[in-house]
C-alpha cells in the first residue's frame, strides 16, 4: 500500500493513502474529538466534532477529518480559533438535549462550552447513530433505526425485530454516549412486547 506524507499541526506524519485524516492523526497520537465515530463502523460524518482546517494547494477549507482522505502535502490544523469555536457551539447545541452526558461534559470542559447557552430541550439522544449503525453494520440485525427528519429525528427500536434479537445482544447500549439507546429499547419493550424478548 502506498504512503503519503502530510503535516498535522506542523508535524510531519506518514499515513497510508487510503486513510482518513482522523485515522492518520490518531495513529500519530494527535487527539481529535469525535462523538459518532467508531473504529469498527463506516465513517458517518454526523457529529462534525472532528472538524479541522486543511490547506491543500493554497486553499484553506474546513472539513470533517473522519471522512476527509489524506493526501500528499496536505496541511492539517486541528486546533485553530475557528475550529475550537465550531466545536464549542456544536457541544453547546448538543447539551441542550443531553446536558449530563459524560462525553459532552468532558468536551465542554475542553472547549469552554456553556451547557446553558441554548434553551434546554432534553431528549437525551444526540443522534450519533452509533446504535443504528452498530446494529446494521456489525450485527446485521437492523433492530433499531432512525425515524422522522430534521429536529424531529429520533431512534426507534422496531418491535418485531427487537423482540427477537435484542435481549441476547444489548451491545449497542455500550456504544451509546447517553444511555438513551437502552431507554429507547426498554420503552419499546414495555409498549410492544412486555413479556417477550426473552425465551
Amino acid at each position: 500500500m502506498s504512503e503519503v506524507t502530510l503535516t498535522i499541526n506542523d508535524r510531519e506524519v506518514t499515513a497510508e493513502a487510503a486513510m482518513s485524516v482522523l485515522e492518520a492523526a490518531r495513529q500519530a497520537g494527535i487527539p481529535i474529538p469525535t462523538l459518532c465515530h467508531h473504529d469498527r463502523l463506516e465513517a458517518y460524518g454526523g457529529c462534525r466534532l472532528c472538524i479541522v482546517e486543511v490547506e491543500s494547494r493554497g486553499k484553506i477549507n474546513h472539513v470533517v477529518s473522519c471522512t476527509y482522505p489524506v493526501e500528499q502535502g496536505l496541511a492539517v490544523r486541528t486546533r485553530t480559533e475557528t475550529v475550537d469555536r465550531i466545536r464549542r457551539v456544536l457541544v453547546e447545541e448538543l447539551m441542550a438535549h443531553a446536558p449530563d452526558s459524560p462525553e459532552l461534559k468532558a468536551l465542554a470542559e475542553e472547549y469552554g462550552a456553556d451547557r446553558n447557552r441554548f434553551g434546554k430541550e432534553p431528549i437525551f439522544c444526540v443522534m450519533c447513530g452509533l446504535c443504528v449503525r452498530y446494529c446494521a453494520e456489525i450485527k446485521g440485525e437492523h433492530a433499531v433505526g432512525f425515524i422522522e427528519n430534521g429536529p424531529r429525528r429520533e431512534i426507534s427500536f422496531i418491535p418485531e425485530r427487537a423482540a427477537e434479537v435484542c435481549w441476547d445482544c444489548q451491545e449497542c447500549f455500550t456504544v451509546c454516549p447517553t444511555s438513551y439507546a437502552q431507554a429507547a429499547y426498554l420503552l419499546a419493550k414495555g409498549l410492544a412486547f412486555p413479556d417477550g424478548g426473552r425465551s
Binding site: G46, R48, L49, L90, E93, L94, A96, G119, G150
Partner: protein, 552 residues
C-alpha cells in the same frame, strides 16, 4: 406512430410536418400552466373547443393547450397567433369575440393589456411591457407547442440540435462547445456545466449516468416545473446531447411526485421520444444508445441536493453522503454521475444549434445566456420571466414586474429561494450575475425573486424561511439539525417580543457554525437568509429586541 431508423427518415418526416402546417394560419394558445390552471383555464379551453366545433371552424383555426406563458398574474392567458395578440384574464364568455377577432385579423380590445397607471393599451406580445423587456429563449417556445404532442416540438425545431450533434460533431466537440459557451449550472451554485461534464466524461469508470434535477422544492421558485411541464422535449433533448458528449447510456429525470400534470407531460414526452427512435438503442441509426428513466422525489427538500438525490435514485433514504468525493466522479451506485438542473439542460440544444459564440454574446462577463426568474411577493406582475444575465433587479421589479403592489414602497428583495438572502432597497441596482449576487449574500440559487413592501417584518421573513428549512433538514448532521432549530427558536422569540440582548451574537455564531460545519450544500447554505438579515437589517433586529424587552 413511426420509428425513425435513420436521420434522413426523421428529417423527411419533419419536412412533411412543416409542409402540412401553415405558419400564417390563426392559432389560439390557451395557457394551462399551474397558475392559469388554478384560475380554470380548462373551462376557457373547453369553450374554445366548443365554439370551434359549433361554427365548424376547425379548418380555419387551430387550438392549442400549452404550458406556462409566464404572465401568471393575469391568467388565464390566451395568445392568438400568428400576430401573437395577448389576451389576459380570459373567461369563457370572451371566447366568441376572441375567435371572431382572430379570424378577422383584428384585436378584441376588452381583454388586451392596459397599463394600470396610464391606461395605455398593448396588444402584441412585443408591446406588452411585461414581455418586451424579456429575452425568452427558453420559455418563449411554451405558447408555440402542446407539450403532449411531440410533432409540435418537431415543427419548431425540436431535436434538430440532437441531429446536428449526433451527425456532425464528435462527443469531444459537443463538450468543447458547451465549455466555450461558459454555460453555468442554473441549479444554484453556478458551477460551469462543461467542467462538470468533463469530470464525469474523464472518470475512469466506464458506466456513467446523466441526471436532470427537476426537484425544485423551495417556496417562491416555480420556473423549473414551468419549463419541464411546458416543454419537456427541450429538456430531454439537452439530456441526450449531454449523454452523447459524456458517454452515458442511461439518464434519469428526477422530479416531483406531487404535480400530476408535470408527471403526465414528462411520461408522455419520454414515451413519444422512444417511439420515434430518439431514445433507446441506436438513436436515429447513429449507433448511439441512450435511455431515460423518470424518478420521483420522496417529498423532502433535501432530496434535491445532489448526493441525497442520487441516494434516492438508488432506492435509499435521501440523506446526503459525507464523502469528500464529487458525485461527478462517484455518484449513483458509485458510478460517475453528472447532475444538472432542468434549466441548464434546456440551454444545451440552443448552444449546439446556434453555437457557443452566439450564446456567450448574451449576458454579463462571467454569467452567460438568459435566466428564468420567478417573480412573487408584493409585486404587481407575478409570474415567470426570462432575462439576459446581467439584467438589474430594478429592471426585473419595475420595468417587468410593474413595481410594488397597492402603491406601497419597496423595502427589500429576497433573492434565491429559502437559502437565498434579503437585500435592502438600496441594493436593487445589483445585476443578475452569479458572482455579483453571491458576493452580496443573495446567491441566484433557485432563481426566485420575492418582493417585499414597506410593511414587511424582516424578523418574520427570516423566521418563516427558517421554519421551512428546519422541517426539510434530513437531521443527520448536528450543525444543520441543531443549528437551524436554535436559530428558529431565537427568531421566534424575537418575533414574539421575547428577544434578548445576546440573541444577535448567538445568531451570528450559529450561522457561522452551520455554514462551515454542515455536511451538505443544503446545510451549508441554510444560514444564508439569517446572515443577510444580520448584514443588512441589523438595526431593525436590534430595535425589535429592544422594543420587545420593554414590553412587560
Amino acid at each position: 406512430m413511426p420509428r425513425f431508423n435513420t436521420v434522413a427518415e426523421f428529417e423527411d418526416y419533419r419536412a412533411a410536418l412543416l409542409a402540412a402546417r401553415d405558419p400564417a394560419r390563426p392559432c389560439i394558445a390557451v395557457c394551462a400552466g399551474a397558475a392559469c390552471d388554478g384560475l380554470d383555464s380548462a373551462a376557457v379551453a373547453q369553450a374554445f373547443e366548443a365554439e370551434i366545433a359549433r361554427h365548424n371552424l376547425a379548418g380555419q383555426l387551430d387550438l392549442r393547450v400549452t404550458g406556462c406563458h409566464g404572465f401568471c398574474e393575469k391568467g388565464p392567458n390566451v395568445i392568438a397567433g400568428p400576430e401573437d395578440i395577448c389576451y389576459f384574464e380570459v373567461t369563457p364568455a370572451d371566447v366568441p369575440e376572441i375567435i371572431r377577432a382572430t379570424l378577422a385579423g383584428e384585436v378584441y380590445a376588452a381583454k388586451i393589456y392596459r397599463d394600470p397607471q396610464t391606461g395605455e393599451k398593448a396588444a402584441r406580445m412585443s408591446e406588452v411591457p411585461y414581455y418586451k423587456h424579456q429575452m425568452r429563449l427558453l420559455i418563449g417556445d411554451n405558447p408555440r407547442l402542446d407539450p403532449l404532442k411531440i410533432d409540435d416540438a418537431l415543427a419548431i425545431g425540436g431535436y434538430a440540435a440532437l441531429v446536428k450533434a449526433l451527425t456532425t460533431m464528435t462527443p469531444d466537440q459537443v463538450l468543447a462547445e458547451v465549455k466555450q459557451a461558459n454555460l453555468r449550472g442554473r441549479g444554484g451554485g453556478g458551477f460551469p456545466a462543461g467542467a462538470k461534464w468533463e469530470t464525469t466524461k474523464n472518470a475512469p469508470e466506464k458506466t456513467k449516468y446523466v441526471i436532470a434535477n427537476g426537484h425544485e422544492g423551495e417556496s417562491a421558485a416555480f420556473m423549473d416545473r414551468a419549463m419541464l411541464t411546458g416543454n419537456p422535449h427541450k429538456v430531454i433533448e439537452g439530456l441526450i446531447i449531454g449523454a452523447y458528449a459524456i458517454g452515458a447510456h442511461q439518464g434519469f429525470i428526477y422530479t416531483r411526485h406531487d404535480v400530476p400534470r408535470l408527471v403526465e407531460h414528462v411520461k408522455t414526452a419520454l414515451a413519444q421520444a422512444r417511439e420515434y427512435g430518439l431514445l433507446g438503442q441506436n438513436i436515429l441509426g447513429t449507433g448511439f444508445d441512450f435511455e431515460i428513466e423518470l424518478h420521483f422525489d420522496v417529498g423532502i427538500f433535501v432530496s434535491g441536493e445532489s448526493s441525497a438525490l442520487m441516494r434516492s435514485i438508488e432506492g435509499n433514504a435521501p440523506e446526503p453522503r459525507p464523502k469528500y468525493i464529487r458525485t461527478s466522479v462517484s455518484g449513483i451506485w458509485d458510478k460517475p454521475s453528472n447532475l444538472n438542473n432542468v434549466e441548464t439542460w434546456a440551454n444545451v440544444p440552443q448552444i449546439i444549434a446556434r453555437g457557443a459564440e452566439w450564446f456567450a454574446s448574451i449576458g454579463s462577463d462571467k454569467s452567460k445566456g438568459t435566466k428564468l426568474v420567478s417573480l412573487s411577493g408584493h409585486i404587481v406582475n407575478s409570474g415567470i420571466v426570462e432575462v439576459p444575465m446581467g439584467t438589474t433587479l430594478r429592471t426585473l421589479i419595475f420595468a417587468i414586474g410593474g413595481g410594488v403592489r397597492d402603491g406601497k414602497a419597496l423595502k427589500a428583495v429576497h433573492f434565491g429561494g429559502a437559502m437565498g438572502g434579503s437585500l435592502p432597497v438600496d441594493r436593487i441596482d445589483a445585476r443578475l450575475d452569479f458572482d455579483e449576487m453571491s458576493a452580496l449574500g443573495a446567491p441566484i440559487g433557485a432563481g426566485g425573486l420575492l418582493v417585499m413592501n414597506e410593511d414587511t417584518d424582516m424578523v418574520d421573513i427570516a423566521r418563516y424561511l427558517m421554519d421551512f428549512l428546519v422541517k426539510e433538514s434530513c437531521g443527520k448532521c448536528v450543525p444543520c439539525r441543531e443549528g437551524m432549530f436554535q436559530m428558529l427558536k431565537i427568531l421566534t422569540n424575537i418575533a414574539e417580543g421575547r428577544g434578548r440582548k445576546f440573541d444577535l451574537e448567538r445568531l451570528a455564531e450559529l450561522t457561522e457554525v452551520t455554514s462551515l460545519g454542515s455536511l451538505c450544500a443544503l446545510g451549508k447554505t441554510s444560514a444564508a437568509p439569517v446572515k443577510s438579515m444580520l448584514q443588512y437589517f441589523h438595526a431593525e433586529y436590534a430595535a425589535r429586541i429592544e422594543a420587545g424587552s420593554q414590553t412587560p
